[in-house]
Amino acid sequence: MEVRMRIFRFNPEKDRKPRYDVFTVEAQPTDRVLDVLEWIRGDVDGTLAFRRSCAHGVCGSDAMRINGRNYLACKVLLRDLGTTEITVEPLLGLPVLKDLIVDMQPFFEHYKSVMPYLVNDELPADGKERLQSPEERERFDDTTKCILCAACTTSCPSFWSNGQYVGPAAIVNAHRFIFDSRDQAAAERLEVLNEQFGVWRCRTAFNCTEACPREIKITQAIAEVKRAIQTGRIE
């Protein structure tokens, strides 16, 4: 099949404003969008810049906007797009550094702000594992899947309108610890998320849930965090 790739280009060393370059590429329906980008960079235009690593949807490097929606470029096959006209753009809401590469620093700062680590200094006397029932473990399973690709946060209208909002990915990672039976710092995280740019900026647009390449039920996780703040109970 022949696809027409329309790719956002911006090189701050040369360009005053962004443009779109069009590449017509012969490809297989089972090719990933990433395969096509790789081919373009390797064989047509070496200056095209994008991030990638694992190429199968677990490292989170290649989140980008494909035909207006956030995806991992390695998790979308051409046949899944339903069209041979493909527009590829950088994530929205983060500064573009070059072509499809955005500045991830603000994203990681929000992530770090919610204490994304287990807080519990008490260790079992025998030095072995802490106990946790399969049910307790299941309680936060969904939010352990996050790969920090930023597809959710950069699909969120609240984040677009104000980048100080911690965003869905940070809340997902707070949820992962708030609902972990072993953790002891839920109250502090809930306090952070109850602040002005915390969880209440979420207007349940559901964009995040649709964008998540790991199929995390993000909007639900955010709702559970909101409920925990309101009720003061972790259930």
């Binding site: 490292c59 473990r137 610890f177």
Partner: protein, 598 residues
């Protein structure tokens, strides 16, 4: 302008080994981690099935059994002192990870769940033992995330998206590294007392690979260029179950949960190759079996793949035939829901890339390049050793896949990569900090970044007669054709010549992007140079080893030859492109080499 930074310990690589090293080194020394990716993008995150440790949570197990299985899996090439150390430490390492917050899957009584994995056995009954501690089929993801979380908690200093291009040596000691900051293109000198290399593997030199694009052998290439040998490079693991054509890994846990391999005639062919543990034999054994089935026309529809079948009806039928039971003695039977809950990510991969549902359809699979057993030679403390006598290069450490301790010998057991990176990452970090605290900051050579500047200038100013992408394609083809699952003298000879030719042609490449900001073309081209160096050393080491052992299977020398080849290869890459080989003995403690049958 080249900026200079000073630290006690510099860690290169932000995967599992690098982060473990960082957590441990930073307790006693000023430490920074340099990573060419954001650390959570590292390939540790792609590990699926589990981390092996003899916790004995479901049945009798002992670290000594784990050690024996590892020695046997290594085809007796692993150093037994290091293997014993690793398997004993593995138990505490798993508890440490749990204490760090790792969300392991659990048993009904709340302890860590464990499952069978290839080559892990009860040493008395020889049957598979439940030793792999897991978090669904995303154990590596959980390890990487958990360690990164702990690094945030402990305020570790990171230089994200800094690509290390060279090692600085001064008076025979490590003195730091030279790196390029991807966002600006600026060179930075990191002047330090100790350097820990944790740069991962080099599986991108093969066509069908489970490895990330980032797996380009940077650490091995950089050390080779600094006169440090690479050990056992001819041993590279081909995992038996990669998704057909894509190479994406389908974890061995699928077989641990009862999945069965079938050829085009519908035969469970592993019965013929490993009568006792069948589909849970070591990876090298299964990869060769698949290759032979395909070669003899028994691939699916005569093509170059076979089926991995984890449909509940298949699992239950063969569990009954094998008499497999649960720990309480009841027959092992599963439902589709149970399977899906154990391998959710595999299910997702199959649906995304194949349009196949693993509980309804068998998965088309073929062997995929997976793991480097060889690498930078170290002892069991992660100290880099540079000759057959085991002389330590002061201040230089390596851990994880880039290192060769050697605990995996000629073939790594499943789950042992995660054991390796946690245990040796930890000790490399501890030892590097100890060393740094007793050492003075080495003198920096004049213009430490000069070599790197020349390398990059050459890439930017080549004649342009050659294209990097084309050289990369030819490299992957020759390595797949001639340095794959089976090898011959003729094929290896061809491969050596071809890689030499590609290294010459590489000098004619010109990078078209002359910019500084995120010049990914420049970096990818530099990485290709690393792959070419690692590939040359791999092919030469393989050509010289005239026996079959573990992952190195020679059609012309089909037997293991302990009399002549029970020894590690050391390979030096000379500046003129020639490779010098030497050998060092294998450390044997209590497990005398025996024939290896499963």
């Amino acid at each position: 302008m080249t900026q200079t930074h000073v630290f006690d310990v510099i860690i290169v690589g932000g995967g599992g080994a690098g982060l473990m090293a960082a957590l441990n080194a930073s307790r006693g020394a000023k430490t920074a981690v340099l990573s060419k990716l954001y650390p959570t993008r590292s390939h540790t995150g792609a590990a699926q099935g589990g981390i092996g440790a003899a916790l004995g949570n479901l049945e009798e197990d002992h670290w000594e059994w784990h050690a024996f299985d590892t020695v046997k899996g290594s085809d007796y090439l692993g150093d037994q002192d290091a293997i014993e150390f690793m398997c004993r430490e593995a138990v505490q390492a798993v508890y440490d990870l749990e204490h760090f917050g790792l969300p392991f899957s659990r048993m009904p009584d709340g302890r860590i769940a464990q499952r069978p994995f290839g080559g892990h056995t009860n040493n008395l009954t020889k049957k598979p033992v439940r030793r792999s501690c897991y978090a669904a089929d995303r154990t590596g993801h959980m390890i990487l995330q958990t360690l990164y979380q702990q690094c945030i908690k402990n305020g570790i200093t990171f230089y994200d998206e800094f690509q290390v291009l060279d090692l600085i040596l001064s008076d025979g000691k490590a003195a730091g590294v030279v790196a390029v900051e991807l966002a600006t293109g600026e060179l930075h000198v990191f002047h330090s007392k100790a350097v820990v290399l944790a740069t991962g593997g080099h599986g991108r030199m093969w066509e069908i690979t489970s490895n990330a694009y980032a797996y380009t052998g940077d650490g091995v290439a950089i050390t080779l260029r600094n006169g440090i040998p690479a050990e056992d490079m001819e041993f590279f693991q081909f995992h038996p179950t990669g998704i057909y054509k894509l190479g994406i890994l389908i974890t061995e846990a699928v077989r641990g949960e009862g999945g069965i391999l079938f050829n085009g005639k519908g035969e469970r062919f592993m019965e013929r190759y490993a009568p006792t543990i069948k589909d849970l034999a070591s990876r090298d054994v299964i990869s060769r079996a698949i290759y032979l089935e395909i070669k003899e026309g028994r691939g699916i529809d005569g093509k170059d793949y076979v089926y991995l079948d984890v449909r509940p009806e298949t699992v239950n039928k063969y569990a009954e035939l094998d008499g497999r039971t649960r720990p309480d003695g009841t027959p092992y039977r599963v439902t589709a829901e149970e399977i899906l809950s154990k391998i959710p990510d595999i299910t997702d991969f199959c649906r995304t890339y194949l349009g196949v549902d693993p509980v309804k359809d068998p998965m088309p699979i073929q062997p995929t390049a997976h793991y480097a057993m060889g690498g930078i030679p170290t002892n069991k403390f992660g100290e880099v050793v540079i000759d057959r006598q085991g002389t330590v290069l002061p201040g230089l450490y390596a851990a994880g896949e880039c290192a060769c301790v050697s605990v995996h010998g000629a073939n790594r057991l499943g789950t042992n990569s995660l054991v390796d990176l946690v245990v040796f990452g930890k000790y490399a970090g501890i030892k590097a900090a100890e060393y740094a605290n007793g050492a003075d900051l080495p003198r920096l050579p004049a213009d430490p970044a000069g070599g790197v500047r020349r390398q990059l200038d050459n890439l930017l100013n080549g004649s342009g007669r050659e294209k990097a992408a084309q050289i990369g394609r030819e490299l992957r083809k020759v390595m797949s054709d001639d340095v794959g699952v089976f090898r011959t003298e003729e094929g290896l000879q061809q491969a050596v010549e071809k890689v030499r030719e590609l290294r010459e042609r590489y000098k004619q490449v010109r990078v078209s992007d002359g910019g500084k900001i995120f010049n990914t073309e420049l970096l990818n081209t530099w990485e290709l140079g690393c792959l070419l160096d690692a590939a040359l050393v791999t092919a030469v080491s393989a050509l010289e080893r005239k026996e079959s052992r573990g992952a190195h299977a020679r059609e012309d020398y089909p037997r293991r030859d302990d009399e002549n080849w029970l020894k590690h290869t050391l390979a030096w890459l000379n500046e003129d492109g020639s490779v010098r080989l030497d050998y060092k003995p294998v450390v044997i403690t209590q497990y005398a080499p025996k024939e290896r049958v499963y």
